[in-house]
Amino acid sequence: MRRHDREIMRFLMRMTRDRDDALDLFQETFLRAYRAYPQLDSEDGLRPWLFKIAANLCRNRARDRARHSRVIAPEADAEMLDGVAPHYSNHADRAAPAAALDLRRAIAGLPGKQGQAFVMRKIVGLEYAEIGAALGCSEESARAGVYQALRKLKELR
C-alpha cells in the first residue's frame, strides 16, 4: 500500500483543496483498505481499488458538506455550485501563483466523476482502465469523463 500512498495523497489534496481534509481522508482511506484487504482478489487490482475507496470518501465528504452548508448557511449554496468553497482554509493553495490557483479552483469545480477522472488521469497519471475500475464505469466512459472535463476547463479559461 505504501507504493501508492503518495499518489493517493496527491489525489486527495487536489480533490479537497484542504490539507486537514486530505489528511483525514487519507487516514480513512488506508484504514478502510487495511480492514478490507483480505477480501481483495489480487495485487493487480490494488491501485484502482485504493482510488475507489478514496473517490468514494471524497464523494461522501462533498455530499456531507453540501448538506451541512444548506443547513448552516443557505446563501452559501450559490458559491458551492460555482465549485468554490470559500469558507474553509486552503493551506495548499496559499503559496500557489494566481494562474495555478485558478486552475485548481476550476478543477475542484468540475462535476463529481468528471473531476475525479480528470485528476486521476492528468494529475496522478492513472491508466483509463484503472480509472474505470476505480470509478465503477467502463474505460470508455472514464475517457469521455476526462475529455469533457478538459473541454470545460478550456471554456473556463
Binding site: M9, F26, F30, A100, K122, L153, R157
Partner: protein, 269 residues
C-alpha cells in the same frame, strides 16, 4: 489567444500542476505518522506462515502469537487454512518460524516423544463443539488411541461419533492436535485427512505399532481412566466400561507407564 494556444497553455499548466509537490512531501509525512498511530489500534495478531518439507510430506504451517494455528498437508484433503486466517490475522511469510516447527515434526517422526514443544492455538476452529473435541483429544496420551465413539462420550455427546469424525476432518493442526490417535470402534484404523499411510507413520512413531491388516497391535489393552485399570479388549469389564473414559494402549507396558494396573479378571500381561 487562439484555440491552439489556449490548449497548449492548459496542458502546460496541467503538467506544472502534476509536478507541483511543494506541500505534498510534508503532508504525506504527517499523514503517514497519523496513519501508523491509528493502525496500532486496528492491528490484528500476526500469523507467520511458511511451507516445509517433512517426513510426512510437504506442509503449510502457520504460527500465531499464542501457538500454532494451522498445519496443512499440501496434498491432503484437509481444510485450506489461508483463507480462514486472512479474516483474523495479518499474514507474514516467515520461513524461519516454519522451519522451527518443521524441525520438531522431523524429530517427532524419528521417535523423539518430547519433540513437539509448540503450544497450539485453536482459534481457527469454527465451532465450540469441535473446539471441545479437539481440546479433549489433546489429553489422549502419547502411545495410546481413542475411538470416535469414546471421544464423543468424553465431550458429552455419546451418539456424536459422526460429528467427531467431522471435527477430526476439519482439525486445523494435525500432528500437534493428534487426530491420528482416533480410531474406529471396531478397532480398525479408520481414515485420516492426510491419508491412512501418514496416520500409520505417526502412530508408529509414537510406538503404536499397527499391523499390516490395519488393526490394533496384538497386545493392545483398554485403559480405564476412572478405575486406573487396564484390560484385554474382550474382557467383560472392558465391555461394560464407559467408552468416554477409555484409552487404548499399544501394550500393557505403556498402560503401566501411564499409572494403570492390570485387570484381575482378564490378566492382560
Amino acid at each position: 489567444m487562439s484555440l491552439k494556444n489556449m490548449n497548449d497553455q492548459l496542458l502546460l499548466d496541467l503538467d506544472r500542476e502534476a509536478d507541483d509537490d511543494r506541500d505534498l512531501d510534508a503532508t504525506l509525512a504527517e499523514a503517514r505518522r497519523r496513519f501508523e498511530k491509528a493502525l496500532v489500534r486496528e492491528r490484528r495478531p500476526i500469523a507467520r506462515v511458511g511451507v516445509i518439507d517433512s517426513p510426512v510430506g510437504r506442509l503449510f504451517v502457520a504460527d500465531g502469537p499464542r501457538g500454532i494455528l494451522a498445519i496443512h498437508f499440501m496434498d491432503g484433503k484437509g481444510p485450506e487454512p489461508l483463507e480462514t486466517m486472512r479474516g483474523k490475522f495479518d499474514i507474514v511469510e516467515d520461513q524461519a518460524a516454519a522451519d522451527r516447527i518443521g524441525e520438531e515434526i522431523r524429530r517427532f517422526v524419528a521417535g523423539d516423544r518430547n519433540a513437539l514443544k509448540h503450544e497450539v492455538d485453536l482459534s481457527l476452529v469454527e465451532s465450540d463443539f469441535k473446539r471441545r473435541a479437539l481440546t479433549k483429544l489433546c489429553k489422549v496420551p502419547l502411545g495410546s488411541v481413542v475411538t470416535y465413539q469414546g471421544l464423543a462420550s468424553a465431550v458429552g455427546a455419546p451418539d456424536g461419533q459422526r460429528a467427531i469424525g467431522n471435527a477430526m476432518g476439519s482439525n486445523p493442526i494435525p500432528i500437534y492436535v493428534p487426530c491420528h490417535r482416533v480410531i474406529k470402534s471396531d478397532l480398525s484404523i479408520g481414515n485420516y485427512g492426510g491419508g491412512v499411510p501418514r496416520k500409520l507413520k505417526l502412530l508408529r512413531a509414537e510406538g503404536f505399532a499397527v499391523g499390516k491388516d490395519l488393526r490394533m497391535p496384538a497386545h493392545a489393552v483398554m485403559g480405564h481412566q476412572r478405575t486406573h485399570i487396564y484390560c484385554r479388549p474382550n474382557c467383560s469389564a472392558a465391555q461394560r466400561a464407559d467408552m468416554g473414559r477409555v484409552y487404548i494402549f499399544a501394550d500393557p507396558e505403556r498402560a503401566q507407564r501411564a499409572g494403570l494396573r492390570a485387570c484381575k479378571i482378564c490378566h492382560p500381561v
